[in-house]
C-alpha cells in the first residue's frame, strides 16, 4: 500500500465512454481483485478520490500476484470525476493510493472456474483470468461495442461466452442465464458487476451448492477502512469485533456471496 504520484502512459477510448488508462508505476505485489483510489483533480470539487479496479499489471508475467512497471485500468465515464479523468492526456501526473482491498481467493485447481461479469465488472476478472487456466468467462454487455472488451481475454487461457441485452452479439438476454447452463457441481464462481446480477449469481450458485465470490462496488471516501462509508450489511455477525457491517474497501471488495445480506443492498 502506498500513495504515489504516477505518470499517465495512455488514456484512450476503447468503446463509447469506456476508457483504458495506463499508469507508470513500479508496483507493489498486486492480486486479482485489488483496486486503487485515484485523485482525479487537485481542486476541491470533486473532493474525494475515486476507486478503480485493476485490469492489468504492465510488464509482469506473474501468476497469483503480479509486480510490474505499470498498471492498466478500465473505466466508464459516469459522472463528473470520470469525465475529468477522460480529459487527461498522456504525460500528465495523477495521485494514486494502492493497491487496496483483498483480492479473489486464488483458485486451488480442484474446481472448474466460472467467471461472470456484467459491464465494467470485467475489470478485476481480467486479472484473475490471466492467473488461471481452463476457466470460462461469461460476459454480459449492453451491446456489441461493450462486448468487444472480451477480445482482451484472447491473451488468457480462458473461454469466453457473451450475452448482450440487445442480442447484437452472443446470446440475447441476461448473463445469469448463461450461468445456469454452465454451472456444474464442481464449479466455483467469481462474479463482478451490477448488484442485481451479483445477487442472481449468488442465488443460482447457492441453489447448486457452489461457492460464489463477488467483488462489490460502493461509494467510498477513504478506501482504507476508516470513513466507514462503504458499509454493506452481512448475514453473519463478526464475533471478535461485534459487528454486522463489512467495509467494502478494507474487508472486501471480494466477499463470499453467502456472507452478504443481499436484501439490504
Amino acid at each position: 500500500m502506498e500513495s504515489a504520484a504516477v505518470k499517465i502512459l495512455y488514456n484512450k477510448e476503447v468503446a463509447p465512454k469506456y476508457f483504458k488508462l495506463g499508469l507508470s508505476w513500479k508496483t507493489p505485489p498486486i492480486a486479482p481483485g485489488h483496486f486503487v483510489m485515484l485523485r482525479v483533480s487537485d481542486g476541491l470539487d470533486p473532493l474525494l478520490r475515486r476507486p478503480f479496479g485493476i485490469y492489468n499489471v504492465l510488464g509482469s508475467k506473474g501468476k497469483g500476484t503480479f509486480k510490474g512497471n505499470g498498471i492498466e485500468l478500465v473505466y466508464q465515464v459516469v459522472g463528473k470525476g470520470t469525465q475529468i479523468l477522460a480529459n487527461k492526456a498522456a504525460g500528465e501526473t495523477i495521485n494514486l493510493l494502492g493497491p487496496l482491498g483483498n483480492g479473489f481467493p486464488h483458485p486451488d485447481g480442484s474446481k472448474k472456474i466460472i467467471m461472470i461479469a456484467g459491464g465494467m465488472g470485467i475489470v478485476p476478472l481480467h486479472m484473475l483470468a490471466k492467473s488461471t487456466e481452463g476457466a470460462v468467462l461469461l460476459y454480459g454487455a449492453r451491446d456489441k461495442k461493450v462486448a468487444s472488451m472480451a477480445k482482451d481475454f484472447k491473451d488468457t487461457k480462458c473461454k469466453v461466452k457473451i450475452a448482450t441485452e440487445d442480442g447484437s452479439v452472443g446470446k440475447k438476454g441476461l448473463v445469469t442465464e448463461l450461468l445456469k447452463t454452465e454451472l456444474k457441481s464442481d464449479s466455483v464462481v467469481y462474479a463482478c458487476g451490477p448488484v442485481g446480477m451479483l445477487k442472481q449469481a449468488s442465488i443460482i450458485s447457492q441453489a447448486a451448492g457452489v461457492k460464489c465470490y463477488v467483488s462489490l462496488e460502493r461509494s467510498m471516501a477513504c478506501g482504507i477502512g476508516v470513513c466507514l462509508g462503504c458499509a454493506v450489511k452481512a448475514k453473519t455477525h463478526n464475533e471478535k469485533e461485534n459487528k454486522n457491517y463489512r467495509m467494502v474497501c478494507s474487508e472486501g471488495p471480494v466477499f463470499d456471496s453467502e456472507e452478504i445480506d443481499w436484501d439490504a443492498l
Partner: protein
C-alpha cells in the same frame, strides 16, 4: 499529564492546552482517522500533535444502514451512525499499539445517557495512554445520539460536569454548529468544567436523488464536512473566542496549512484535520509542516498567532 513530547519538536510550534503539551497544533479529527494505526502505511504518526480517535461508546455500535455517504460540492455528507468497536475493545486491542507513538491520544466519547458518558470516561481514565477526553455532544446522525445534549445548553452542561466528575483526564467538549448562538453553548460547557472546546462538528444537510425523488442517504439527513463548511467554521471559532476563557480547537474543512492558519488567527489554539485525511492520508502532517514554514517565514510563534486577527 499527557505524554512525552519529542525533544526535536520546534518550540515555536508547540502549544499547551488543558495541561497537555502538544508538539504542534495539528490533530486529526474524530471519525476521519480511525484508531490511527490504519494510517501508518501513509503517514508518520509521530509528526502529529495529537490523534483524536473514532468516537467510543460503552458498547459496540453497528452504525447506520447504507448508503452512508455522498459527495457534495467541495464536501461530503456522512451518516455513519457512530459505528465503533466499543470502549473496552479500544483499550485492549488498539490503545497498546497506539500509545507507542510520540503523539497525544485523545479519546472521543459519546453516549445515549449521562450514565453512559460517565462510564466510558471512567474506563478511559483508568487506562494508560489517553491524554484527554473529547466529548461528542453534537453528532447529528443518530436519533438517540448526542443531538439533545448538543443543542440545549443545560443538557450540555449536565454531560460535561458528569464526565468531569468521572475522570481525572482533561475534558474537551466538541460543539455542534447546529445552534442559533454558539456563544451560549461555549459559556454553558465552560461553566460546567470543560477544559477546552473543539468546534465545529458537521452541519446537518441532505441530498435528494431527483430522478427517484428519494434521499440519497439511508437516514435521509447527514453531517456535512469538507471545505464547503470552512467559512462557517472560521466564523464560529471567531464568535466563540469573543466569550471563551478556555482554549479553542478549531476545525471544519481544513485542507492545508493556509486553512488551518485561518482558524488559529481567528482564535483557535490548535486545529483538527478531518475530511482531508480521506483525500490525502498524509494531510495532517503536511498541515503541521506548513504551519511551521509560515511561523519561520513570518518570524513569529504559534502563541503569537492565536487570535491575532486585525480588524479595521
Amino acid at each position: 499529564m499527557g505524554r512525552t513530547v519529542n525533544k526535536k519538536a520546534n518550540p515555536k510550534l508547540g502549544v499547551e492546552i488543558a495541561g497537555i503539551k502538544f508538539r504542534n497544533p495539528v490533530m486529526t479529527a474524530s471519525g476521519t482517522f480511525g484508531y490511527g494505526l490504519e494510517f501508518t502505511p501513509y503517514t508518520d504518526l509521530n509528526k502529529l500533535g495529537g490523534i483524536v480517535v473514532k468516537g467510543l461508546s460503552l458498547n459496540p455500535r453497528q452504525g447506520n444502514p447504507s448508503p452512508r455517504i455522498v459527495e457534495t460540492p467541495c464536501g461530503m455528507l456522512n451518516a455513519i451512525g457512530l459505528q465503533n468497536v466499543g470502549v473496552d475493545y479500544f483499550i485492549k486491542e488498539k490503545l497498546p499499539a497506539l500509545r507507542k507513538y510520540k503523539t497525544q491520544i485523545i479519546a472521543n466519547i459519546f453516549g445515549e445517557t449521562i450514565e453512559d458518558y460517565m462510564e466510558v470516561a471512567k474506563r478511559l481514565s483508568d487506562s494508560e495512554g489517553v491524554s484527554a477526553i473529547e466529548i461528542n455532544i453534537s453528532c447529528p446522525n443518530v436519533k438517540k445520539g448526542g443531538i439533545v445534549f448538543g443543542t440545549d445548553p443545560s443538557e450540555a452542561a449536565k454531560v460535561v460536569s458528569a464526565v468531569k466528575g468521572s475522570s481525572r483526564l482533561p475534558i474537551i467538549t466538541k460543539l455542534s454548529p447546529n445552534v442559533t448562538d454558539i456563544k451560549v453553548m461555549v459559556k454553558a460547557v465552560e461553566e460546567a468544567g470543560a477544559d477546552a472546546i473543539s468546534l465545529i462538528n458537521t452541519l446537518t444537510g441532505m441530498v435528494i436523488d431527483v430522478e427517484k425523488r428519494k434521499p440519497v442517504l439511508a437516514t435521509i439527513t447527514g453531517g456535512l464536512s469538507g471545505p464547503a463548511i470552512r467559512p462557517v467554521a472560521v466564523r464560529m471559532v471567531w464568535q466563540a473566542k469573543q466569550v471563551a476563557k478556555v482554549p479553542l480547537i478549531g476545525m471544519g474543512g481544513i485542507m492545508n496549512a493556509r486553512d488551518a492558519l485561518e482558524f488559529i488567527i481567528a482564535g483557535a489554539s490548535a486545529v483538527q484535520v478531518g475530511t482531508a485525511n480521506f483525500v490525502d492520508p498524509d494531510s495532517a502532517a503536511k498541515v503541521a509542516d506548513g504551519i511551521e514554514e509560515y511561523i519561520t517565514r513570518h518570524k513569529t510563534s504559534l502563541k503569537d498567532l492565536i487570535g491575532s486577527m486585525k480588524v479595521g
